[in-house]
């Protein structure tokens, strides 16, 4: 995966994860283009678009579009599954997730994404394990300085 964008139906960006190095103006330009293209699609159209040398795979969940740009040799259908898995994770974590959850807790959305995907590839295929890891990490935030964490990890190591 090269990048993933989450945006509303009005074109407002809710999350952007880039797995390739690009400057800020470049990222802005690309986001604008891709968002425009995807928003122009009619509901009956297929979920795949060709754009430059990449394939854009997108799916709308309620008021949010989830959009991934993958390379030519990637399997588009499994990318749809990856998107779905991410939505499931968010849903489990927030409990019936909606756009507002992602707006007000964007940093958590990033944490969950980073626990599922690393460098553009899925790192864990088990929902349970991903959610457990997030849970543990969240608990670490509650605890004080790190020297308490040793005891913690000993008990909760996965």
């Amino acid at each position: 995966m090269r990048f993933m964008l989450l945006f509303s139906r009005q074109g407002k960006l809710r999350l952007q994860k880039w797995y390739v190095p690009l400057s800020d103006p470049q990222k802005k330009k690309i986001s604008r283009e891709v968002i425009q293209m995807v928003l122009a699609r009619k509901p009956k159209m297929c979920s795949f678009l060709e754009w430059r040398d990449l394939k854009i795979v997108y799916k709308r969940y309620a008021s949010l579009y989830f959009c991934c740009a993958v390379e030519d040799q990637e399997n588009e259908l499994i990318t749809l599954e990856i998107i779905h898995r991410y939505v499931e994770l968010l849903d489990k974590y927030f409990g019936s997730v909606c756009e507002l959850d992602i707006i007000f807790n964007f940093e958590k959305a990033y944490y969950i994404l980073d626990e599922f995907i690393l460098g553009g590839e899925a790192q864990e295929t088990s929902k349970k394990i991903v959610l457990k890891a997030i849970e543990q990490a969240d608990m670490l935030q509650e605890v004080g300085p790190i020297y308490f964490m040793k005891a913690f990890s000993a008990r909760w190591a996965i």
């Binding site: 898995r85 964007f106 940093e107």
Partner: protein, 820 residues
């Protein structure tokens, strides 16, 4: 200083802004507060401030002043700080900023942290945005973690290694030992990321690929894992709609594809498992189809047995019938990839593919169109063309150009009859005329000249099309050219193919003049119509009207038109005796490979007495002849001059190509009513504005020579030099026959090296009478601007006593005076 507001609070506040300006104001205020907070080096609230900054950055506002703060957060001991700090680094920093290198040390420390979640953060950040320098510095740490028994870290390290390898390919070797027992892991996360790592290594390095195939015996291991996934019962942790870990299955299939490509042993080892996956996977949900899709891709790419390939194509065929658009889309994409190699199998699904042309989705339509063109062949051309023309009518403009080109190509290759071909072209021109590519106009004209018996029909249909619509320029250009050429056929009502229409000369001229004045016509089109009008002066009787039109445009603002008109005027006035010759019917143009830009050519049918400026549009059809050049080994060959009439030259030229290598060619003409040698002709090519008779004085004293003397056939060359242009030699050949039988169907052809140019005029006859009772004469004009030694290759064909005879010869004994 009051505590900075919380993140959620800020988000809530900003969302209440009703206008962009209001939002900007709030943001600026908060940014100022954050900046001063940063200046105070406040540790407590740094995390909160950076989080707010990240939110504002996502809205599109600049946040670079927070970059250093992210680094400070990363260095902090609090987990919360580190989490936000690393997130900020991934969002705000990238390898373009020097600042990012400061992270390296922090990441190094964190990679060795006692808490796996901190190590995880470091691995994640490195794996997402590590620059080459960082990767070089930290590769060792990553490699260490790749060997740990902690699966949480191992899987992250594997993907981090992938990133390192992408950034610094030389480091790939370093990770090789660690990959040894990656696949013996039980943990799916590790398995998945390991397969990704192995895939990356195999894709990048053929040596690695061979190593993994042979030494590590990767294929059996992967087959075993895949088999377990399929055969094992329900596993709640990895189940997706009844399928066990589809992500891992797909990844394994992809790695198998790479391992099996061009390798018989590996391909054979995976045959069974592929067949198993292909037949047993549940297809009711997207997951199942995702796996099948990957399986099909793998089967097609490796050296699979034919049964398996047929299975794969059938799966794709089933996909085409699926209700889900996405599935249809991937099916079309895959079929497009395989249509070359498994053509027959794909043909079976042709009707489904053609149905996809009617789909609403643009991507599907495009795929279906490309695939349809790939499937057209001699058997299905009529049916396919009907569908494709219907598609052309109704498709979006973005498709029309490609579709039109595709139709032309297919029609050319497989047209069942000339009439069908012309009808198809007409259909395209009238429905998608403005989208047709520029080079189609000369191609079409060339095609039309070739279909001699259809000329009347073609010009009639084009004329009728013009009456309807003059807005589509390619159609108008082709139509005006045809009317110019075949206007006499149009007026005389000679059409056989359909009911001839009654058209008067005046009506035709009205139409052409209409094109000249219309706002819809481009300058190029106007040029075409003016020339067409001029050509009609030899075909129609209303010459005065034409003269008037031509003289009016002599003062046109358009320089191109003006020039043409002036020259045509000159034709009427000073050179009226040359007009018939110049404006006579164009010869058939040789069709060769698609042409690049060619040099200017002069043909008997359309010479102008002036320079080459307006040659391009008129000479374009003629330039088709020059396409012979492209086939001659890409040499920079000089232009071809053809003076031939229909039938013979077409084949003659083709044969010459084979035999005469890199020499430029001249076709041998059949006898024709073209003017004989003694009529003075305009100067050769780019030769100045004046046109003086060439054959003033024969250059005194150039001795004749015998060029060929064999089997009773003797060919003598006599020379003349043209006065105005000393670079031109005029050679007259005299062919005589000493045997007792006539040589009939005699054709003389010549070719010269590339620095020369050659023009062959018509011979006096094509029979060389026996026993020297007469001879054939023919004039050759050779342009020799570089004054090089003249040499020539000649080819003679004739029928002698009922048998065809053919001979090639080199002529090298030209007297120096003939070319110096």
């Amino acid at each position: 200083m009051p505590a900075p507001i919380r993140l959620r609070e800020l988000i809530r506040t900003i969302r209440t802004a009703r206008t962009q300006a209001e939002e900007r104001e709030m943001i600026q205020k908060e940014c100022a507060a954050i900046r001063s907070s940063f200046r105070e080096e406040d540790n407590t609230y740094r995390c909160r401030n950076v989080a707010k900054l990240l939110y504002m950055h996502m809205l599109g506002y600049p946040a670079h002043f927070g970059q250093l703060e992210c680094l400070k957060l990363i260095a902090s001991q609090k987990f919360t700080d580190k989490r936000i700090g690393y997130l900020g680094a991934m969002l705000l920093l990238d390898e373009r900023q020097d600042v990012h290198l400061l992270m390296t040390n922090c990441i190094k420390n964190d990679l060795n942290h006692s808490t796996q979640y901190v190590q995880g953060l470091a691995l994640c950040t490195l794996g997402c945005m590590g620059s080459s320098e960082m990767c070089r510095d930290l590769a060792g740490e990553v490699e260490k973690l790749l060997k740990t028994s902690n699966s949480y870290l191992r899987k992250k390290a594997a993907l981090c290694a992938v990133h390192v390898i992408r950034k610094v390919p030389e480091l790939m070797e370093m990770f090789l030992p660690a990959t040894k027992n990656l696949l013996s892991e039980k943990n799916h996360g590790v398995l998945h990321t390991s397969v990704v790592l192995l895939t990356e290594m195999c894709e990048r390095s053929p040596d690695m690929l061979t190593h993994f195939r042979k030494n590590e015996k990767l294929v059996p291991q992967l087959v075993r894992i895949l088999k377990n996934l399929i055969m094992s019962g329900y596993s709640p942790e990895h189940d997706v709609s009844g399928i066990s870990d589809p992500f891992l299955q797909v990844r394994i299939l992809r790695l198998l594809r790479i391992l099996g490509k061009s390798d018989d042993d590996s391909s054979e080892a995976m045959n069974d498992i592929l067949a198993q996956v292909a037949t047993n996977t549940e297809t009711s949900k997207n997951v199942g189809n995702a796996i099948l899709y990957e399986t099909v891709l793998t089967i097609m790419d490796i050296k699979s047995e034919s049964g398996l390939r047929v299975l794969a194509i059938n799966i794709l065929g089933r996909f085409l019938l699926n209700n889900d658009k996405n599935i249809r889309y991937v099916a079309l994409t895959s079929l497009l990839k395989t249509v070359q190699t498994d053509h027959n199998a794909v043909q079976r699904h042709r009707s489904t593919i053609v149905d996809c042309l009617k789909d609403l989705d643009v991507s599907i339509k495009r795929r279906a169109m490309e695939l349809s063109f790939a499937l057209v062949n001699g058997n299905n051309i009529r049916g396919m063309m009907k569908e494709l023309l219907y598609f052309l009518d109704s498709c979006d403009p973005e498709f029309k150009a490609d579709c039109a080109s595709g139709v032309f190509l297919a029609a050319e290759k497989y047209a069942p009859s000339k009439r069908w071909h012309i009808d198809t072209i007409m259909r395209v021109l009238t429905t998608a005329g403005s989208y047709v590519r520029d080079d189609s106009v000369p191609n079409l004209i060339q095609l039309i000249t070739n279909s001699v018996e259809m000329h009347a029909y073609t010009v009639q249909r084009l004329y009728k099309a013009l009456l309807d619509d003059i807005s589509q320029q390619p159609l108008v250009q082709v139509a005006s050219w045809c009317i110019g050429e075949y206007g006499d056929l149009l007026v005389s009502g000679q059409c056989e193919e359909e009911e001839p229409i009654q058209v008067t000369e005046d009506e035709v001229l009205d139409v052409l003049e209409g094109l000249l004045v219309s706002n819809l016509s481009t300058p190029v089109t106007r040029g075409y119509s003016l020339t067409a009008i001029m050509k009609l002066s030899t075909r129609f009787s209303s010459v005065n009207r034409i003269k008037k039109v031509v003289s009016i445009y002599g003062s046109s603002i358009d320089v191109e038109l003006q020039q043409r008109a002036v020259e045509y005027n000159a034709l009427f006035k000073k050179y009226d005796h040359m007009r018939p010759a110049l404006l006579e019917r164009m010869p058939i143009m040789e069709k060769t490979a698609t042409n690049g830009p060619t040099e200017i050519v002069q043909t008997n049918g359309e010479t102008e007495s002036s320079d080459s400026k307006h040659m391009p549009s008129i000479a374009q059809p003629a330039n088709q002849a020059n396409d012979l050049l492209d086939l001659l080994g890409g040499h920079d060959v000089g232009p071809v001059i053809q003076t031939a009439l229909p039938t013979k030259p077409a084949s003659a030229g083709g044969e010459l190509l084979d035999l005469l290598g890199d020499l430029s060619l001249s076709g041998g003409p059949a006898p024709s009513p073209t003017p004989s040698v003694t009529i003075s002709q305009p100067p050769f090519l780019l030769d100045g504005l004046s046109s003086q008779p060439l054959f003033n004085d024969t250059a005194a004293g150039i001795p004749p020579m015998t060029a060929y003397n064999k089997n009773g056939l003797k060919i003598e060359f006599t020379f003349e030099r043209s006065n105005p242009n000393p670079n031109i030699s005029v050679i007259t050949i005299h062919a005589s026959n000493t045997t007792e039988a006539d040589m009939t169907d005699f054709v003389f052809q010549a070719a010269v090296p590339k620095t020369f140019q050659l023009q062959l005029l018509s011979p006096s006859s094509n029979v060389v009478p026996a026993l020297n009772q007469g001879n054939i004469t023919q004039v050759i004009r050779v342009l020799n601007p570089q004054k090089q030694q003249l040499r020539m290759r000649i080819k003679l064909t004739y029928t002698y006593k009922g048998a065809p005879v053919q001979d090639l010869a080199e002529v090298n004994n030209f007297p120096p005076q003939s070319w110096q």
